[in-house]
Every structure is written in C-alpha cells, then in structure tokens.
Amino acid sequence: MATQKMFFSGFGGQGVLMIGRNIAYAAMLEGKEVTFLPSYGPEMRGGTANCTVIVSDKSISSPLIYEADLVCVMNLPSLIKFERMVKPKKFLFVNSSIISQSATRSDIQTAYVNANEIAKGLGNEKAANMVMLGAIVKKTGVVSFDSIEHVMEKTFAGKKQSVIDLNRNALHAWD
C-alpha cells in the first residue's frame, strides 16, 4: 500500500467530510503522509459535499486525484457522478439505505452498506457516517480500528458518554 487515494461524497449534513477526516487523522497517527481536501464554497449550500483523502508512505505532491482506490458515495447523485473514478479492482462503498440503485461497473469491488438503517437501529440515524467508516476500515484496512478509536477519543473528548458509545458501536456495527 504505497499510496491510497480516496474520495467521499454525499449530501451536505451526511457527515462525509467527517469520514474522510477520521481516516486522514488515523493514518497520520500511523506515521503516514496524508492530505485531506474538501470541496468548498457555496456549491455546498444544501447541495453535495465531497472530500479527497490521500494516504501514502512517501510525501504527497498533489492532494488532487482523478481516480481513486476507494470511493464512498452516500447519495444517488454521488454514485452517478463518481462511480467512474474507482480504479479497476478497487473499492466502491455505497450507502444502500439512501441509494436504491446499484453500481453499474463489474470490474470493481462494490460494498453496499445500509448505513442509515444500521445507525437507526443503534438509536440515531446521524451515526450513519460512522457505520460507513467502520465498514471501510473493516473491508480495506487502510487504517486500523485502533487508530480510528484513538482519533475518536480525541475528537469526542468532553462529549457525553452516550454519544461516544453510540459512535463506537456504530463503528463496529457493520459486517
């Protein structure tokens, strides 16, 4: 795993940036080079949000990518727009709670994660992004669960225990 290029996309509010940022942070803790680049500006207004994460063993020249080892889509427009970015044989994660359509490509590994339903089952649909994050970590091993939990400790420091528990549960909910 010299360099992993990842792309996350969904509606604003679905927490896709948070998925990317957690992976980037965890990879950094593992001593990797990382870049995280969110989309920005008013196109985010009630529209879509996306971000690019690169994790590498060596220094990263450009934070931009045009093909990815992993694409995660949280809504339908994202699937339609970004499926083509996945490199052959590489990963596509689809939030199947929101997206009823299937991927069209067969040369890639597609995982359907019913993230919202699982999160709802845990008590809060908002944790859907954590479910997706867990699925990605479990399936790709791009970072370890340990690192992610370490990140969560930092980012949730001071939050209510119930929130922390919910998110930890969500992280491990998919399999």
Binding site: F11, G46, N75, L76, P77
Partner: protein, 71 residues
C-alpha cells in the same frame, strides 16, 4: 368536488415545508416516499376538497412550485 386545484411543479420543490407550515387547513405534507429529481421529498396536497384557495402556500413558497386554480 374540489373547488380549488392546487398544482405542484414537483421537480422544483426543495421540501422546505414552509407551505405545509402555513396552510390554514393543514392539508399539505411532504411525501414520505417520493423523491424528486433533485433528491428532495416534495410537498403535495392531501385533501384537495378542504382547500379554501387562500394561496398562503403559494405565497410563501420560495421556489415557485405552486399554482392554484379555482373551480
């Protein structure tokens, strides 16, 4: 028969629910199932017969979704 016809330009609706909130007859609602081209649950009328044609819904709709006709 309904005295008024409330029409929705479904694909323009952004599901903001403002129309729903101002209808004096409480006969508007967002669809819980349908998703329009933009990905929103659009508003629609649940009971055309009760409509009094007050146009409150159309007046507050920020996205020119609603037209209202009499008879």
């Amino acid at each position: 028969m309904a005295k008024f016809l409330v029409k929705f330009n479904v694909d323009k609706c952004k599901g903001c629910e403002l129309c729903v909130s101002v209808c004096p007859k409480n006969i508007l609602a967002l669809s819980t199932t349908e998703v329009n081209a933009k990905g929103y649950h659009p508003a629609s009328i649940t009971d055309m017969d009760s409509c009094i044609g007050c146009a409150s819904c159309a007046t507050i709709c920020p996205d020119c979704v609603i037209s209202i006709y009499a008879e």
